[in-house]
């Protein structure tokens, strides 16, 4: 019963909190409206999200967010420097294949998002079976180094989280 009413309890909670932050004040009416959203939206989207993601260690999530946030700031300077100081013919763009060890759809989604937000890389496509990810590199001479960095820095951490 509770499973049918709340297919994703954490998702429902997030929706309530996000709603309260959006209206920016906590009143009974807002909590009520938020709760209604928190029940209706997960129920409506449940068919598209059948699995139940497990987050094993919440502390690791915070560590991961800090690492990614730092990398995003670095990425900005990195890309800005490439745009400003490199001539177009010196920018070597290429595709890189990153084979995946993680299989949970949620983990792959987070990884793809992280790749796009961090230094010089955009995740462009998954393989049909979801076992590899295609990454476009703005300026790189060594595809293996890029692949190893993604695997060691992000995928290893995600493996511990999911």
């Amino acid at each position: 019963m509770i499973k049918r009413l709340l297919p994703h309890p954490l998702f429902s909670l997030t929706l309530v909190v996000v709603w309260l932050m959006l209206v920016n004040k906590v009143t009974l009416g807002n909590v009520l409206l938020g709760s209604i959203l928190g029940i209706i939206v997960p129920a409506l989207t449940a068919p598209y999200w059948p699995g139940q993601p497990r987050v094993r260690s919440p502390l690791r999530v915070i560590e991961y967010m800090l690492v990614v946030l730092w990398d995003i700031v670095v990425a900005n300077f990195h890309v800005a420097a490439i745009i400003l100081f490199k001539r177009n013919k010196d920018i070597h763009s290429r595709w890189v294949t990153v084979p995946l060890d993680i299989t949970s759809p949620e983990a792959i989604t987070v990884l793809a998002g992280t790749i796009t937000m961090t230094p010089g890389t955009v995740s462009s496509m998954l393989s049909a079976d979801g076992r590899s990810i295609l990454v476009h590199c703005l300026d790189c001479d060594d595809p293996n180094a890029v692949r190893d960095e993604i695997k060691n820095r992000y995928e290893r951490r995600l493996e511990e989280i999911f």
């Binding site: 996000v18 932050m21 959006l22 920016n24 059948p50 699995g51 995003i72 700031v73 990425a75 900005n76 890309v79 800005a80 745009i83 400003l84 177009n88 920018i91 763009s93 595709w95 890189v96 294949t97 084979p99 299989t103 759809p105 792959i108 989604t109 793809a112 998002g113 992280t114 790749i115 796009t116 937000m117 230094p119 010089g120 955009v122 995740s123 462009s124 496509m125 998954l126 393989s127 049909a128 079976d129 979801g130 076992r131 590899s132 295609l134 476009h136 703005l138 595809p143």
Partner: protein, 130 residues
């Protein structure tokens, strides 16, 4: 004290403006769609982020009220930017790139645009069927 705070806020705004400018310049300068995709997905996150930090500092330190809207904007930005970038990249690949130009996926199935997903349901949840 007020002066220090104002200088700090201005610094955030100026940094943000510079990064926004660089991101837009990147759109003009870089050669093809895939390269151009890098400029707005990154150089502008600090651009927008800087404005948001400045706004939070202003409301917290000068107006004395805590505002969560900036955190929400950051959250939505970080959720939507990679998704739309992925979307554009995939469309671009489908229209302009042939399978030969891409590296091998190193597994038995090809890239999603060119190959059908395996039919067992557990593995292709995250990848919409064509």
């Amino acid at each position: 004290m007020n002066l220090v705070i104002e200088i700090l806020i201005s610094l955030c705004l100026v940094t943000a403006g510079v990064f926004g400018l660089v991101g837009s310049y990147g759109l003009i300068k870089l050669k093809d769609t895939m390269q151009r995709l890098h400029a707005p997905t990154k150089a502008t996150t600090v651009g927008v982020g800087g404005v948001l930090v400045a706004s939070m500092l202003y409301f917290f330190l000068i107006k004395g009220s805590l505002s969560f809207h900036e955190l929400m904007i950051t959250l939505f930005l970080f959720l939507t930017a990679p998704v739309s970038a992925h979307f554009i990249a995939k469309t671009f690949i489908q229209a302009e790139v042939t399978e030969k130009d891409l590296p091998d996926p190193e597994h038995e199935f090809g890239w999603a645009v060119f190959d059908d997903a395996p039919s067992y349901p557990d593995e292709d949840d995250h990848e919409p069927k064509p």
